[in-house]
Amino acid sequence: MSTGIAMIRADLLKLRRRRALMAWSALLFAGAQLLFFGFGAVRHASDPAHFGPAGGTHGLVNALMLVSYLGGVAAVMIGTAAGGGDAAAGVLRDLVSSGRSRLALFAVRLPAALLVVLAFTIPSLVVATGGAVVLAGQQPVPATGALAASALAAAVSIAVTTLLAVGLSSLLSSRSIAIGLLLCWNLALSRVLEHATSLGQLRGLLPNAAAERLVPVAVGGAYTVAMPVAAAVAVLVGWVAVACVAGAWRTASRDA
């Protein structure tokens, strides 16, 4: 096994052993989906005249929104744990004094965080898309292509959030500040800015606007900020690149 893979496995171990973080992540990702569809199915079964089926396109949109918001919170927690965990535990100085490249120490955090987050994201998306189909009732079932594209868009959004969290928490000396900033940005500020029409096309630089562009119109409806898919991908890549470069620079230059 190469040293790089061994280091990724070590970072995976550090994350997996955080039991509270893993439990909360499971709750926010898959638990929220199960609750959403379970509650919707019971409500529909008890009063079909007033409450529609839990699934269908409408159910899928709501389920993906839950993945994006609550899964995003979990992604921030996991990403910041991966990015700032060594420094917070005081272990970074030992890792640095091993002679291993500081850039390598930073780089292995990215796949480790992504793997952990995807381990939660994929089951939650399976529940979301499966629930949308199984619990569609009389409503039209979203097409397979739309389901797949919607799930992919949600996964990309979560992955971007994770990488931003790794980069920002590596940049800052405080994990809690990184969590606060990212949650504030993801859940409030970026949403407000996305709807601030006075900003015009500048809104296209927002990562949430770019991520929404990846969701098919058949599922997400009209885009708040219209832009080509290539531009949306470029925006997301740009955000990830800036965060990762900043995190790598700080890891390489800071006193350990």
């Binding site: 040293t3 052993r17 535990a89 640095v96």
Partner: protein, 324 residues
Amino acid sequence: MAASRIVTSVLPMEETHESTVLETDELTKRFGDRTVVAGLDLRVPARCAFGLLGPNGAGKTTLIRMLLGLTRPTSGTVRLLGLTMPAGRARALAGVGAIVEEPRFHLHLTGRENLMVAAAVRGAPAAGRVAPLLERVGLADRADDRAGDYSLGMRQRLGIARCLLSDPRLLILDEPMNGLDPAGILEMRHLIRSLVDEGRTVMVSSHLLDEVEKTCDLVAILDRGRLIAQGPVAQIARDGGRQVLIGCDDPGRAVAVLRRHVVSARAVPGDEHLLQVTPAPGVTVAEVNRSMVEAGIAVERLEPVRATLEERFLEITSRLEAAK
């Protein structure tokens, strides 16, 4: 700690310069206007226990952090295992194990998992050393407990195990006796000596002078970032000058008689018949004795005082303090 030793492969020192594992030239570190390490020229020979002594704020930890590349020197050079830093950083540090300040761990991981994480960055052979090292430092029975449940002494031992993962030629231990009970200190002393016996060099930073004296072969004394003494422990201690204890029936008259023959003479607290004197240069202890006998003073005891490193350390640092 277990007496058993892991199979080691300490490499010969062919890469080092004249068997010196560490050399610094004019090494300086400033934080703003404050100079923490000032133009330090340090030489640490191979295969010895080297003590780094100094009062709080002397610059010991900052020096260690610069040696390990944890913080950048303001100026000066460092050669570690014959390699110039930072150009040879990766190769040099691969042969170094270190504990800086206190050993820190991921508290949610077990002792074994912490070593596995540390081994992952040190290359494949390190992973195979995890179990033997846990055995060596006496943590095999608690290896699968969370590090957060370990006592400070256990964490020190786990830190030593982590240091040894890369089978280092040089170990740098910052205050390794901190938090240890007397039995733990004794075990640590034996461990350090056993590491030296294996052909490694162990650099120990400590404020426990007695421990450094018992453990180390060579010592460097730092004060306010400056190297003020360096050499074999016995020589540093001896350089403080020779003293002699004199037991007699009339200490008051003895002081008057000896005035011409000694640099200082003072009563030893708690014993009214005992004096501690420092003979003047060129004056032998026999001459001191004869002077007293010829003056009719009954000399009951004449005993050379063995200078300790602690006394020498305090003498040097207090002298510097007085000179300011």
